[in-house]
């Protein structure tokens, strides 16, 4: 199904895609969308309610909350993109090679993948940051480790379907090496379902990243990730509920849009 059909088939796909596009752009150049500095404190303007000047209000140090959400996107979206990219490459390589090889290496690799799948993603991520520290790179690896097994499984399943098709056999018979047939003939046909799953996993990645910074494992202050912003608002739940509410709704909308987009692209997802 083409993207155009998908857009027409479901209402809300266009706004969801547009919103995600804006969020992605704001992650790259947050200063395009806001005149404020995310770290400039203005004590006179602390804990202001949302207004035209401060869409999401201001925090306890007078910093514009909307600006902080936009700058937080740089961290969240950056790590999400890196982690999903890493998991995608690892998943495709492991899945396609394992499926093509077959035999006992395939069994061993897939058993290992089963074990990784059986561990809850958050705990796997906590395990990895315990070993490597809390920086951006360990977080990326930690998030990627939780996504990669699912992608490897799908990539392998697709490979198994494709490798017995006559054209792959013809390529091999025509003298294409094993590696060439994997890269040129199997990979281009197996990555589409993997990519759809990866897009859905981007939502999971955002959830895990913001949960980790909620648990105190995010970037150190004054930088703030979405989860960290929501968690900080906790101290002002009574006086300034918007500090928690608006960033939370924002994150929810991002995830809801992603979910809607993936479903519209026609993949039946659990």
């Amino acid at each position: 199904m083409t993207a155009a059909v998908a857009v027409r088939r479901r209402a809300g796909t266009l706004p969801a895609g547009f919103f995600l596009l804006l969020v992605a752009i704001s992650a790259v150049t947050p200063d395009l969308f806001t005149p404020y500095d995310p770290y400039a404190t203005v004590p006179a303007e602390k804990l202001l309610a949302p207004s035209a000047a401060h869409v999401f209000g201001t925090d306890e140090l007078g910093r514009d909350q909307f600006t902080r959400v936009l700058y937080g996107a740089t961290h969240t979206i950056g790590i999400t993109a890196a982690a999903v990219g890493l998991a995608l490459i690892a998943g495709l390589v492991v899945g396609v090679l394992s499926g093509l090889t077959g035999g006992w290496p395939d069994i061993v690799v897939m058993r290992a993948v089963d074990v990784l799948v059986s561990l809850p993603r958050l705990l796997l991520a906590l395990l990895i940051v315990t070993a490597f520290g809390f920086g951006a790179v360990p977080t990326t690896v930690a998030v990627a480790a939780g996504i990669f097994p699912g992608l490897a499984r799908v990539a392998r399943a697709e490979t198994l379907k494709i490798r017995t098709l006559p054209y792959v056999e013809a390529a091999r018979a025509g003298g294409a090496s094993w590696l060439r047939s994997a890269v040129r003939h199997v990979l281009p046909h197996s990555w589409a379902p993997v990519l759809a799953l990866a897009l859905l996993d981007a939502g999971t990645a955002i959830l895990v990243i913001s949960t980790m910074s909620f648990l105190g494992l995010g970037p150190p202050p004054p930088a703030a990730e979405w989860g960290g912003l929501i968690a900080q608002g906790r101290d002002h739940l009574v006086a300034a509920p918007w500090l928690t509410l608006l960033p939370g709704v924002f994150v929810g909308l991002v995830l809801l849009s992603l979910d809607h987009l993936v479903r519209s692209l026609g993949r039946d997802v659990p």
């Binding site: 074990v115 315990t130 070993a131 520290g133 949960t211 909620f214 739940l237 509410l245 995830l255």
Partner: protein, 316 residues
């Protein structure tokens, strides 16, 4: 059947061993020295200690021995349910786990009950509602439920039910009242997932030809859903329930941290912040063991729920 059961048990034990190996490789084998990490967490630079002091620390936790020796030693201890000593608390890890397991189990049990009740109710209402608007809303609600971060849901609950209405306390672990809000926090995404799977399964069942026959005998749509639909949806629901039960410890990490409750979840959160390697490893192992045990149970009760599974196996 005995062969099937024994095979599943052997697989479960193998998976458990593999989970242990993964934790060992990540925590002890990969670059990054546990002692340096531990000192860094306590704001002590490793350089400020003499070589002798470092060696003492290494020896104390058995980190100076060859890696295969450590692995064998740890595995041997684990077989005797000895999980070593906490780096920062200086007490045996097994004792810590025993203390914190109870509250997490209570929280998890209540959360699962709420999730089953909530998810089931939403699914049944979504497929039997007559009004189009209600159907649409009930079908979209679960997607929203899994899209909001659980800690945000928890904060909303605190804001409404603890601060505004004052019905339940916002923090603490004493008494049943402190159990409610964290359990709802854990149950919300679980109920949403369950509702999604159940709704899909009920839709499929209701589209089958025999439903027309049953309806023709005079059974209402609601009765068809509750008497026949749910039974057909049970295997899929049990699968999801297994996943949710297995994730209890992971879900509890957020709920217990947010509500300052004692339990395995907060234990592991604190241990990660303190770089307390043995405690992190132990909690991950407990969570892994829970997943393995639940998968085993799901595999074993599956044939009972869906006779077709056994029938197909016999037919080969």
């Amino acid at each position: 059947m005995t062969r099937y059961v024994l095979g599943r048990i052997a697989t479960a034990l193998g998976t458990l061993w593999a989970v242990y190996t993964v934790t060992f490789v990540v925590l002890y084998l990969l670059p990054g020295d546990p002692v340096t990490q531990l000192l860094a967490a306590g704001d002590v630079a490793a350089e400020s200690l003499s070589a002798g002091q470092l060696a003492d620390l290494q020896a104390r936790y058995g980190l100076d021995r060859p890696i295969h020796d450590q692995y064998a030693h740890h595995l041997w201890r684990l077989a005797h349910l000895d999980l070593g000593e906490s780096f920062t608390r200086n007490v045996p890890v097994s004792g810590l786990l025993a203390d914190r397991l109870g509250p997490t189990l209570a929280l998890g049990a209540l959360a699962v009950l709420l999730a089953v009740a909530g998810g089931g109710a939403i699914a049944v209402m979504a497929v039997s509602a007559r009004s189009g608007v209600a159907r649409f809303l009930l079908r979209r609600l679960p997607a929203a439920g899994v899209s909001f971060p659980p800690f945000f849901v928890g904060l909303l609950l605190i804001q409404i039910f603890a601060f505004r209405l004052g019905w339940f306390p916002a923090v603490g672990s004493d008494g049943w009242r402190t159990l409610v809000l964290p359990a709802v926090t854990m149950a919300a995404p679980a109920a949403a997932m369950l509702a999604q799977v159940l709704t899909r399964s009920l839709d499929r069942t209701l589209a089958e030809p025999w439903v027309v026959t049953v309806r023709a005998t005079g059974l209402s749509r609601f009765a068809v859903v509750t008497r026949h639909g749910l039974r057909n949806a049970a295997p899929a629901a049990v699968n999801v329930l297994g996943l949710l039960l297995g994730a209890t410890v992971a879900e509890a990490v957020v709920a217990e941290t947010l509500f300052s409750r004692d339990g395995l979840g907060r234990l592991v959160q604190e241990a990660v912040l303190d770089q307390d390697v043995p405690v992190v490893q132990a909690v991950v192992l407990v969570a892994g063991a829970a997943v393995v045990a639940i998968n085993l149970v799901v595999d074993l009760i599956h044939p009972m729920l869906d006779p077709r599974v056994t029938a197909m196996r016999r037919a080969g």
